[in-house]
């Protein structure tokens, strides 16, 4: 499979990328690791006329501690996130989620910003960031804006990112003192999650239980009221709208979500070491 013809451009700075976006508008797409966009282009589900490769924008590849927050450049690869010392101390959930995306080859290419901007509801890292109360920094023609990640996702593959904007940074509050848990259920090792759960402290986010990653608000409220893990996890499916299709029906996904949430909360509580399940 070969993509439809396009013109390849390489941006060397954020400003150069913004100028190309301003010039070409909806005809252009940004290329980060390319592991979501290129498969879509090969299937001709996407056919941009201009592809703007961000690979040379090296100053968007970093993890930095800034007081009680961790700043992550949008072009930082999964492979770098999963081994990063700052993340392993301050945002282990994010490091772990990055380390279970796809396979090693995919993690050598895929980026955190690419995953967030692509907004696949079955993706691992966006849910980990949602549970972590991350903030996104977005550059545009009139400067930079910050949005809480909870207000960013609008639906499957749809976000509030404008055609003339680009995601530059993800900011995660330090969770160094909080337990975390992550669970996902896949048919085969490298598949997307049928259902997944990312939890840190009292925050719980669900993968693939709606058109966007969502917080399990009923579970969080029950935990805040002192409910047991079993009782809180029983509320996981409230407010969800999972797809109902051949690989897994909606009721099955709701069941899975309850089971996986209980396991993730056991990890948060330290009763099962996180990352070993």
């Amino acid at each position: 499979m070969i993509p439809a013809a396009f013109t390849y451009r390489r941006a060397s700075t954020v400003d150069e990328a913004l100028a190309l976006l301003a010039q070409h508008g909806d005809d252009a797409k940004l290329l980060a690791g390319g592991h979501s966009l290129l498969p879509l282009m090969k299937l001709r589900f996407a056919a941009p006329e201009i592809l703007i490769d961000m690979a040379d924008v090296a100053d968007l590849r970093y993890v930095r501690l800034d007081g009680d927050r961790v700043r992550i450049g949008a072009l930082t690869r999964y492979h770098d996130l999963q081994h990063d010392g700052i993340l392993l101390e301050h945002a282990r959930l994010v490091a772990h989620a990055a380390g279970v995306v796809g396979d090693p080859q995919i993690r050598h290419r895929g980026t955190i910003g690419g995953s967030v901007a692509h907004a696949d509801p079955a993706a691992d890292v966006p849910a980990a960031l949602l549970a972590s109360d991350a903030t996104l920094v977005i550059a545009g023609p009139s400067g930079s804006r910050e949005v809480p990640i909870g207000g960013f996702f609008q639906g499957p593959f749809t976000t509030t990112l404008g055609a003339d904007e680009l995601l530059t940074e993800i900011v995660v509050p330090s969770k160094a003192s909080q337990g975390w848990g992550f669970e996902k259920f896949t048919r085969r090792a490298i598949d997307w999650a049928i259902v997944g759960v990312a939890a840190v402290g009292g925050s719980v986010a669900l993968i693939n239980m709606a058109g966007t990653p969502i917080r399990a608000k009923a579970v969080e409220a029950a935990l805040a009221d002192g409910a047991s893990i079993e009782d809180a996890a029983a509320l996981t499916a409230e407010g969800t709208s999972p797809v109902d299709e051949a690989h897994a029906g909606a009721e099955y996904r709701k069941h899975l979500a309850r089971v996986l949430t209980a396991r993730a909360l056991e990890q948060v509580a330290g009763r099962i070491p996180a990352g070993l399940a």
Binding site: I2, Y8, G34, K42, G102, P104, Q105, I106, H108
Partner: protein, 155 residues
């Protein structure tokens, strides 16, 4: 566009369509057919090569993205008529049946051993999760990687 890609230590410079995939550049433009195309959907790993020393799936990269970078294919593993330790170990341990997945398996294994020179059998299995063997010859493939890393084959 004109791309400049170092392949197995040799500079290549060719005019290609912007949409040319790296695997097609390697196979059809440069003529190195050791790298196979399997699923063509980032799943099977048959097309795995090293980009600047790290494993990538060359069906999911543009040749344009590799412009200015160094690629290693299975043909670049051996040197001076000697097999690479991973190639030798795949032969010794019979880490292949039909052979189609083998170039990708070996490149993924080389990348693993660059990052983790003494993996456990479980770590080898996890590191090869992106490479499928339709003969299901995984046991001997894992043994080959253990052998290549100069460890007990059966852990």
């Amino acid at each position: 566009m004109k791309v400049n890609i170092e392949i197995n230590g040799r500079a290549t410079a060719e005019e290609v369509e912007d949409r040319t995939l790296l695997v097609h550049y390697i196979r059809d433009v440069v003529g190195l057919t050791g790298t196979n195309v399997g699923c063509d959907t980032t799943s099977c790993g048959a097309c795995t090569v090293l980009l600047d020393g790290e494993s990538v799936k060359s069906c999911t990269m543009l040749a344009a993205q590799a412009d200015g970078h160094a690629v290693t294919t299975v043909e670049g593993l051996g040197a001076n008529g000697e097999l690479h330790p991973v190639q030798r170990a795949f032969r010794e341990q019979h880490g292949l049946q039909c052979g189609f997945c083998t170039p990708g398996m070996m490149m993924a294994s080389v990348s693993l051993l660059n990052e983790n020179p003494k993996p456990s059998r479980d770590e080898v299995r996890a590191a090869l999760e992106g490479n499928l063997c339709r003969c299901t010859g995984y046991h001997n493939i894992v043994s080959a990687v253990m052998d290549a890393s100069v460890q007990e084959v059966e852990g």
